[in-house]
């Protein structure tokens, strides 16, 4: 399952890096110039997506339980739109509960999510756009 998620994650951007920390956690990242989108796959099946700024601080976060329901969605409207888009493309068998979650529904209304699903932009371009408005030096 983790391999499948990683393979799908790799298709989202041209330069995806995969790190195998140990047998319990695998990380993968898509990096812009300063910010990055970070994926963590844990041993129990939890999936975590984080948007990290140039200081390595978490600006937005999505945690999916092993049952593929939403455990956490935090961050700005536009960033959560990106996380939801990515989760939908890499995680198989998302539960109806995920799709019906009010926070997920709200995130899907974001311009970022709409532009991504409409093919008007891609994940890396979105990160670059966010970087322009993040000045956390």
């Amino acid at each position: 399952m983790i391999e499948q998620i990683l393979e799908r994650f790799k298709t989202l951007a041209p330069e995806t890096e995969v790190y195998r920390w140990n047998s319990y956690v695998v990380y993968a990242s898509i990096s812009g110039k300063r910010d990055s989108l970070w994926l963590s796959c844990y041993k129990r099946g939890t999936i975590r997506l984080e948007y990290l700024d140039n200081c390595g601080e978490t600006e937005a976060e999505l945690i999916l339980s092993p049952e593929r329901t939403l455990a956490e969605l935090a961050g700005s409207h536009e960033m959560t739109g990106l996380l939801i888009y990515v989760a939908q493309r890499i995680v198989p068998d998302l539960e109806d509960q995920f799709c019906l979650d009010p926070d997920v529904i709200y995130a899907k209304r974001s311009e970022t999510y709409q532009a991504l699903t409409g093919g008007a932009t891609d994940v890396l371009s979105v990160i670059h756009e966010f970087e322009k408005t993040n000045y956390n030096f």
């Binding site: 920390w21 140990n22 047998s23 319990y24 956690v25 844990y42 041993k43 129990r44 939890t46 390595g56 601080e57 978490t58 600006e59 937005a60 976060e61 945690i63 339980s65 092993p66 455990a71 956490e72 969605l73 935090a74 961050g75 700005s76 926070d103």
Partner: protein, 141 residues
């Protein structure tokens, strides 16, 4: 900040003399206990998820405990000597831990660690444990 988050942060503050608290935005509150190099990192998110991480000198997460808003362990990874510390801290700062927390096999294993046992017995404290763990590279079992 949610009242429950405030309560967790207040309890975290009592664990060591050098606790730092950060409220980054309406979505996250973080707190940390630093030793010389390593640190214990607490994150409270808006839905009530609580995450405890042990981060080493190289900024790698060596151990992590994620609790769902229902106070059930979602993940517990790392060497027992560190997960013992995380479980000890979680028990002291997070109110209303679910029975499933106490029955979880990884939690039970962490409680069998020397670290947890010494903390419980009052033979050491959180900061001393971090100082003791610092020089060691511990691979999860």
């Amino acid at each position: 900040m949610e009242p429950i988050t405030e309560q967790i942060l207040e309890r975290f503050e009592t664990l060591a003399p050098n606790v730092r608290i950060y409220q980054l935005d309406p979505y996250f509150a973080h707190a940390s206990i630093y030793a010389e190099h390593d640190k214990l990192w607490l994150s409270c998110s808006q839905r009530g998820t609580v995450r405890l991480e042990y981060i080493d000198l190289a900024a790698d997460t060596k151990a992590q405990l994620i609790l769902s808003a229902e106070r059930v362990p979602v993940e517990l990874i790392g060497h027992p000597s560190i997960t013992g510390l995380l479980v000890y801290v979680a028990e002291r700062i997070v109110p209303d831990l679910d029975d499933r927390f106490h029955e979880d096999s990884d939690i039970i294993r962490a409680k069998q660690s020397e670290t947890y046992q010494k903390l419980i017995a009052g033979e050491t404290d959180v900061l001393s444990v971090i100082h003791k763990l610092e020089p060691h590279i511990l691979d999860p079992q």
